[in-house]
């Protein structure tokens, strides 16, 4: 993917991730500068979760997604969450806990899921950058911590 093309697609995707949307959903955007989306989820009585989506080859490849504490340090303790989206075991390539969900690079490169290619969902409305953020957010909302 040519970097200029990836940046153009990225910029178009994040243009609607506005402060107004953040206010309504409890999202805080720390960065929306190519290739990084750095976003915290917040909710009453919850510990914020910060995600970094690195979208260098958007959208030829899905974003690499890492989980962080509110201060930006890498999250080392597994999340307490009933959803299967947050996988607390180390990813065989990234060697850290990861988002086990269609739309994350860690999912599509995991040996258990290489048969479920990103190409089959790329460009779908649910797999824009905002769509991926929304899916993870819905999973996070099911937790309590």
């Amino acid at each position: 993917m040519h970097p200029a093309a990836a940046k153009a697609l990225f910029d178009a995707d994040v243009a609607t991730l506005t402060p107004a949307l953040g206010k309504r959903r409890g999202w805080t955007f720390h960065s929306l500068e190519f290739p990084l989306v750095d976003c915290s989820y917040t909710a009453p009585a919850r510990t914020p979760l910060r995600l970094r989506l690195t979208c260098g080859d958007w959208n030829e490849l899905p974003p690499e997604i890492s989980l962080h504490n509110a201060d930006g340090t890498l999250l080392t303790m597994p999340l307490t969450n009933p959803s299967g989206v947050f996988n607390g075991s180390p990813h065989p390539v990234a060697n850290r806990q990861f988002i086990c969900m269609r739309g994350s690079r860690e999912y599509h490169t995991h040996p258990s899921h290489v048969g479920d290619p990103w190409e089959s969902i790329r460009g779908h409305s649910s797999y824009t950058i905002g769509g991926i953020l929304t899916q993870i957010w819905h999973a996070w909302l099911k937790g309590t911590g």
């Binding site: 949307l21 959903r25 988002i99 929304t134 993870i136």
Partner: protein, 104 residues
């Protein structure tokens, strides 16, 4: 004396009870872009969702969920039902987007 106005106030069925004010948020934008649309309380929620899809050029909403945002959190609503059937009234902030992803 305005009898009609008096009756509306006493029985709680003033003109505004027949309508809700709706703003729908998605990661593709808001519908309407600013403010709220006034729609009948007995209209199905899916009508405004369809308008949102068209206005924001969202191609596919299979598996998307609609929720109403309240001060205490989000509550899922059924788009196939009316606002009244969903127990909604007044000014509504509806969030719409893909549900929790599969994987695991």
């Amino acid at each position: 004396m305005n009898t009609e106005q008096s009756n509306e106030r006493s029985d709680g069925h003033g003109p505004d009870s027949h309508f809700v004010e709706v703003s729908i948020s998605t990661t593709a934008g808001f519908f309407p872009a600013e403010g709220f649309n006034r729609v009948p309380v007995n209209q199905k929620v899916e009508v405004e969702l369809r308008k949102t899809m068209e206005a924001l050029k969202i191609r596919d909403t299979a598996g998307w969920v609609a929720s109403v945002i309240t001060p205490t959190g989000k509550r899922p609503i059924d788009p196939a039902k009316t606002y009244a059937e969903n127990g909604l009234s007044g000014e509504l902030e509806i969030d719409w987007g893909p549900s929790e992803g599969g994987g695991g």
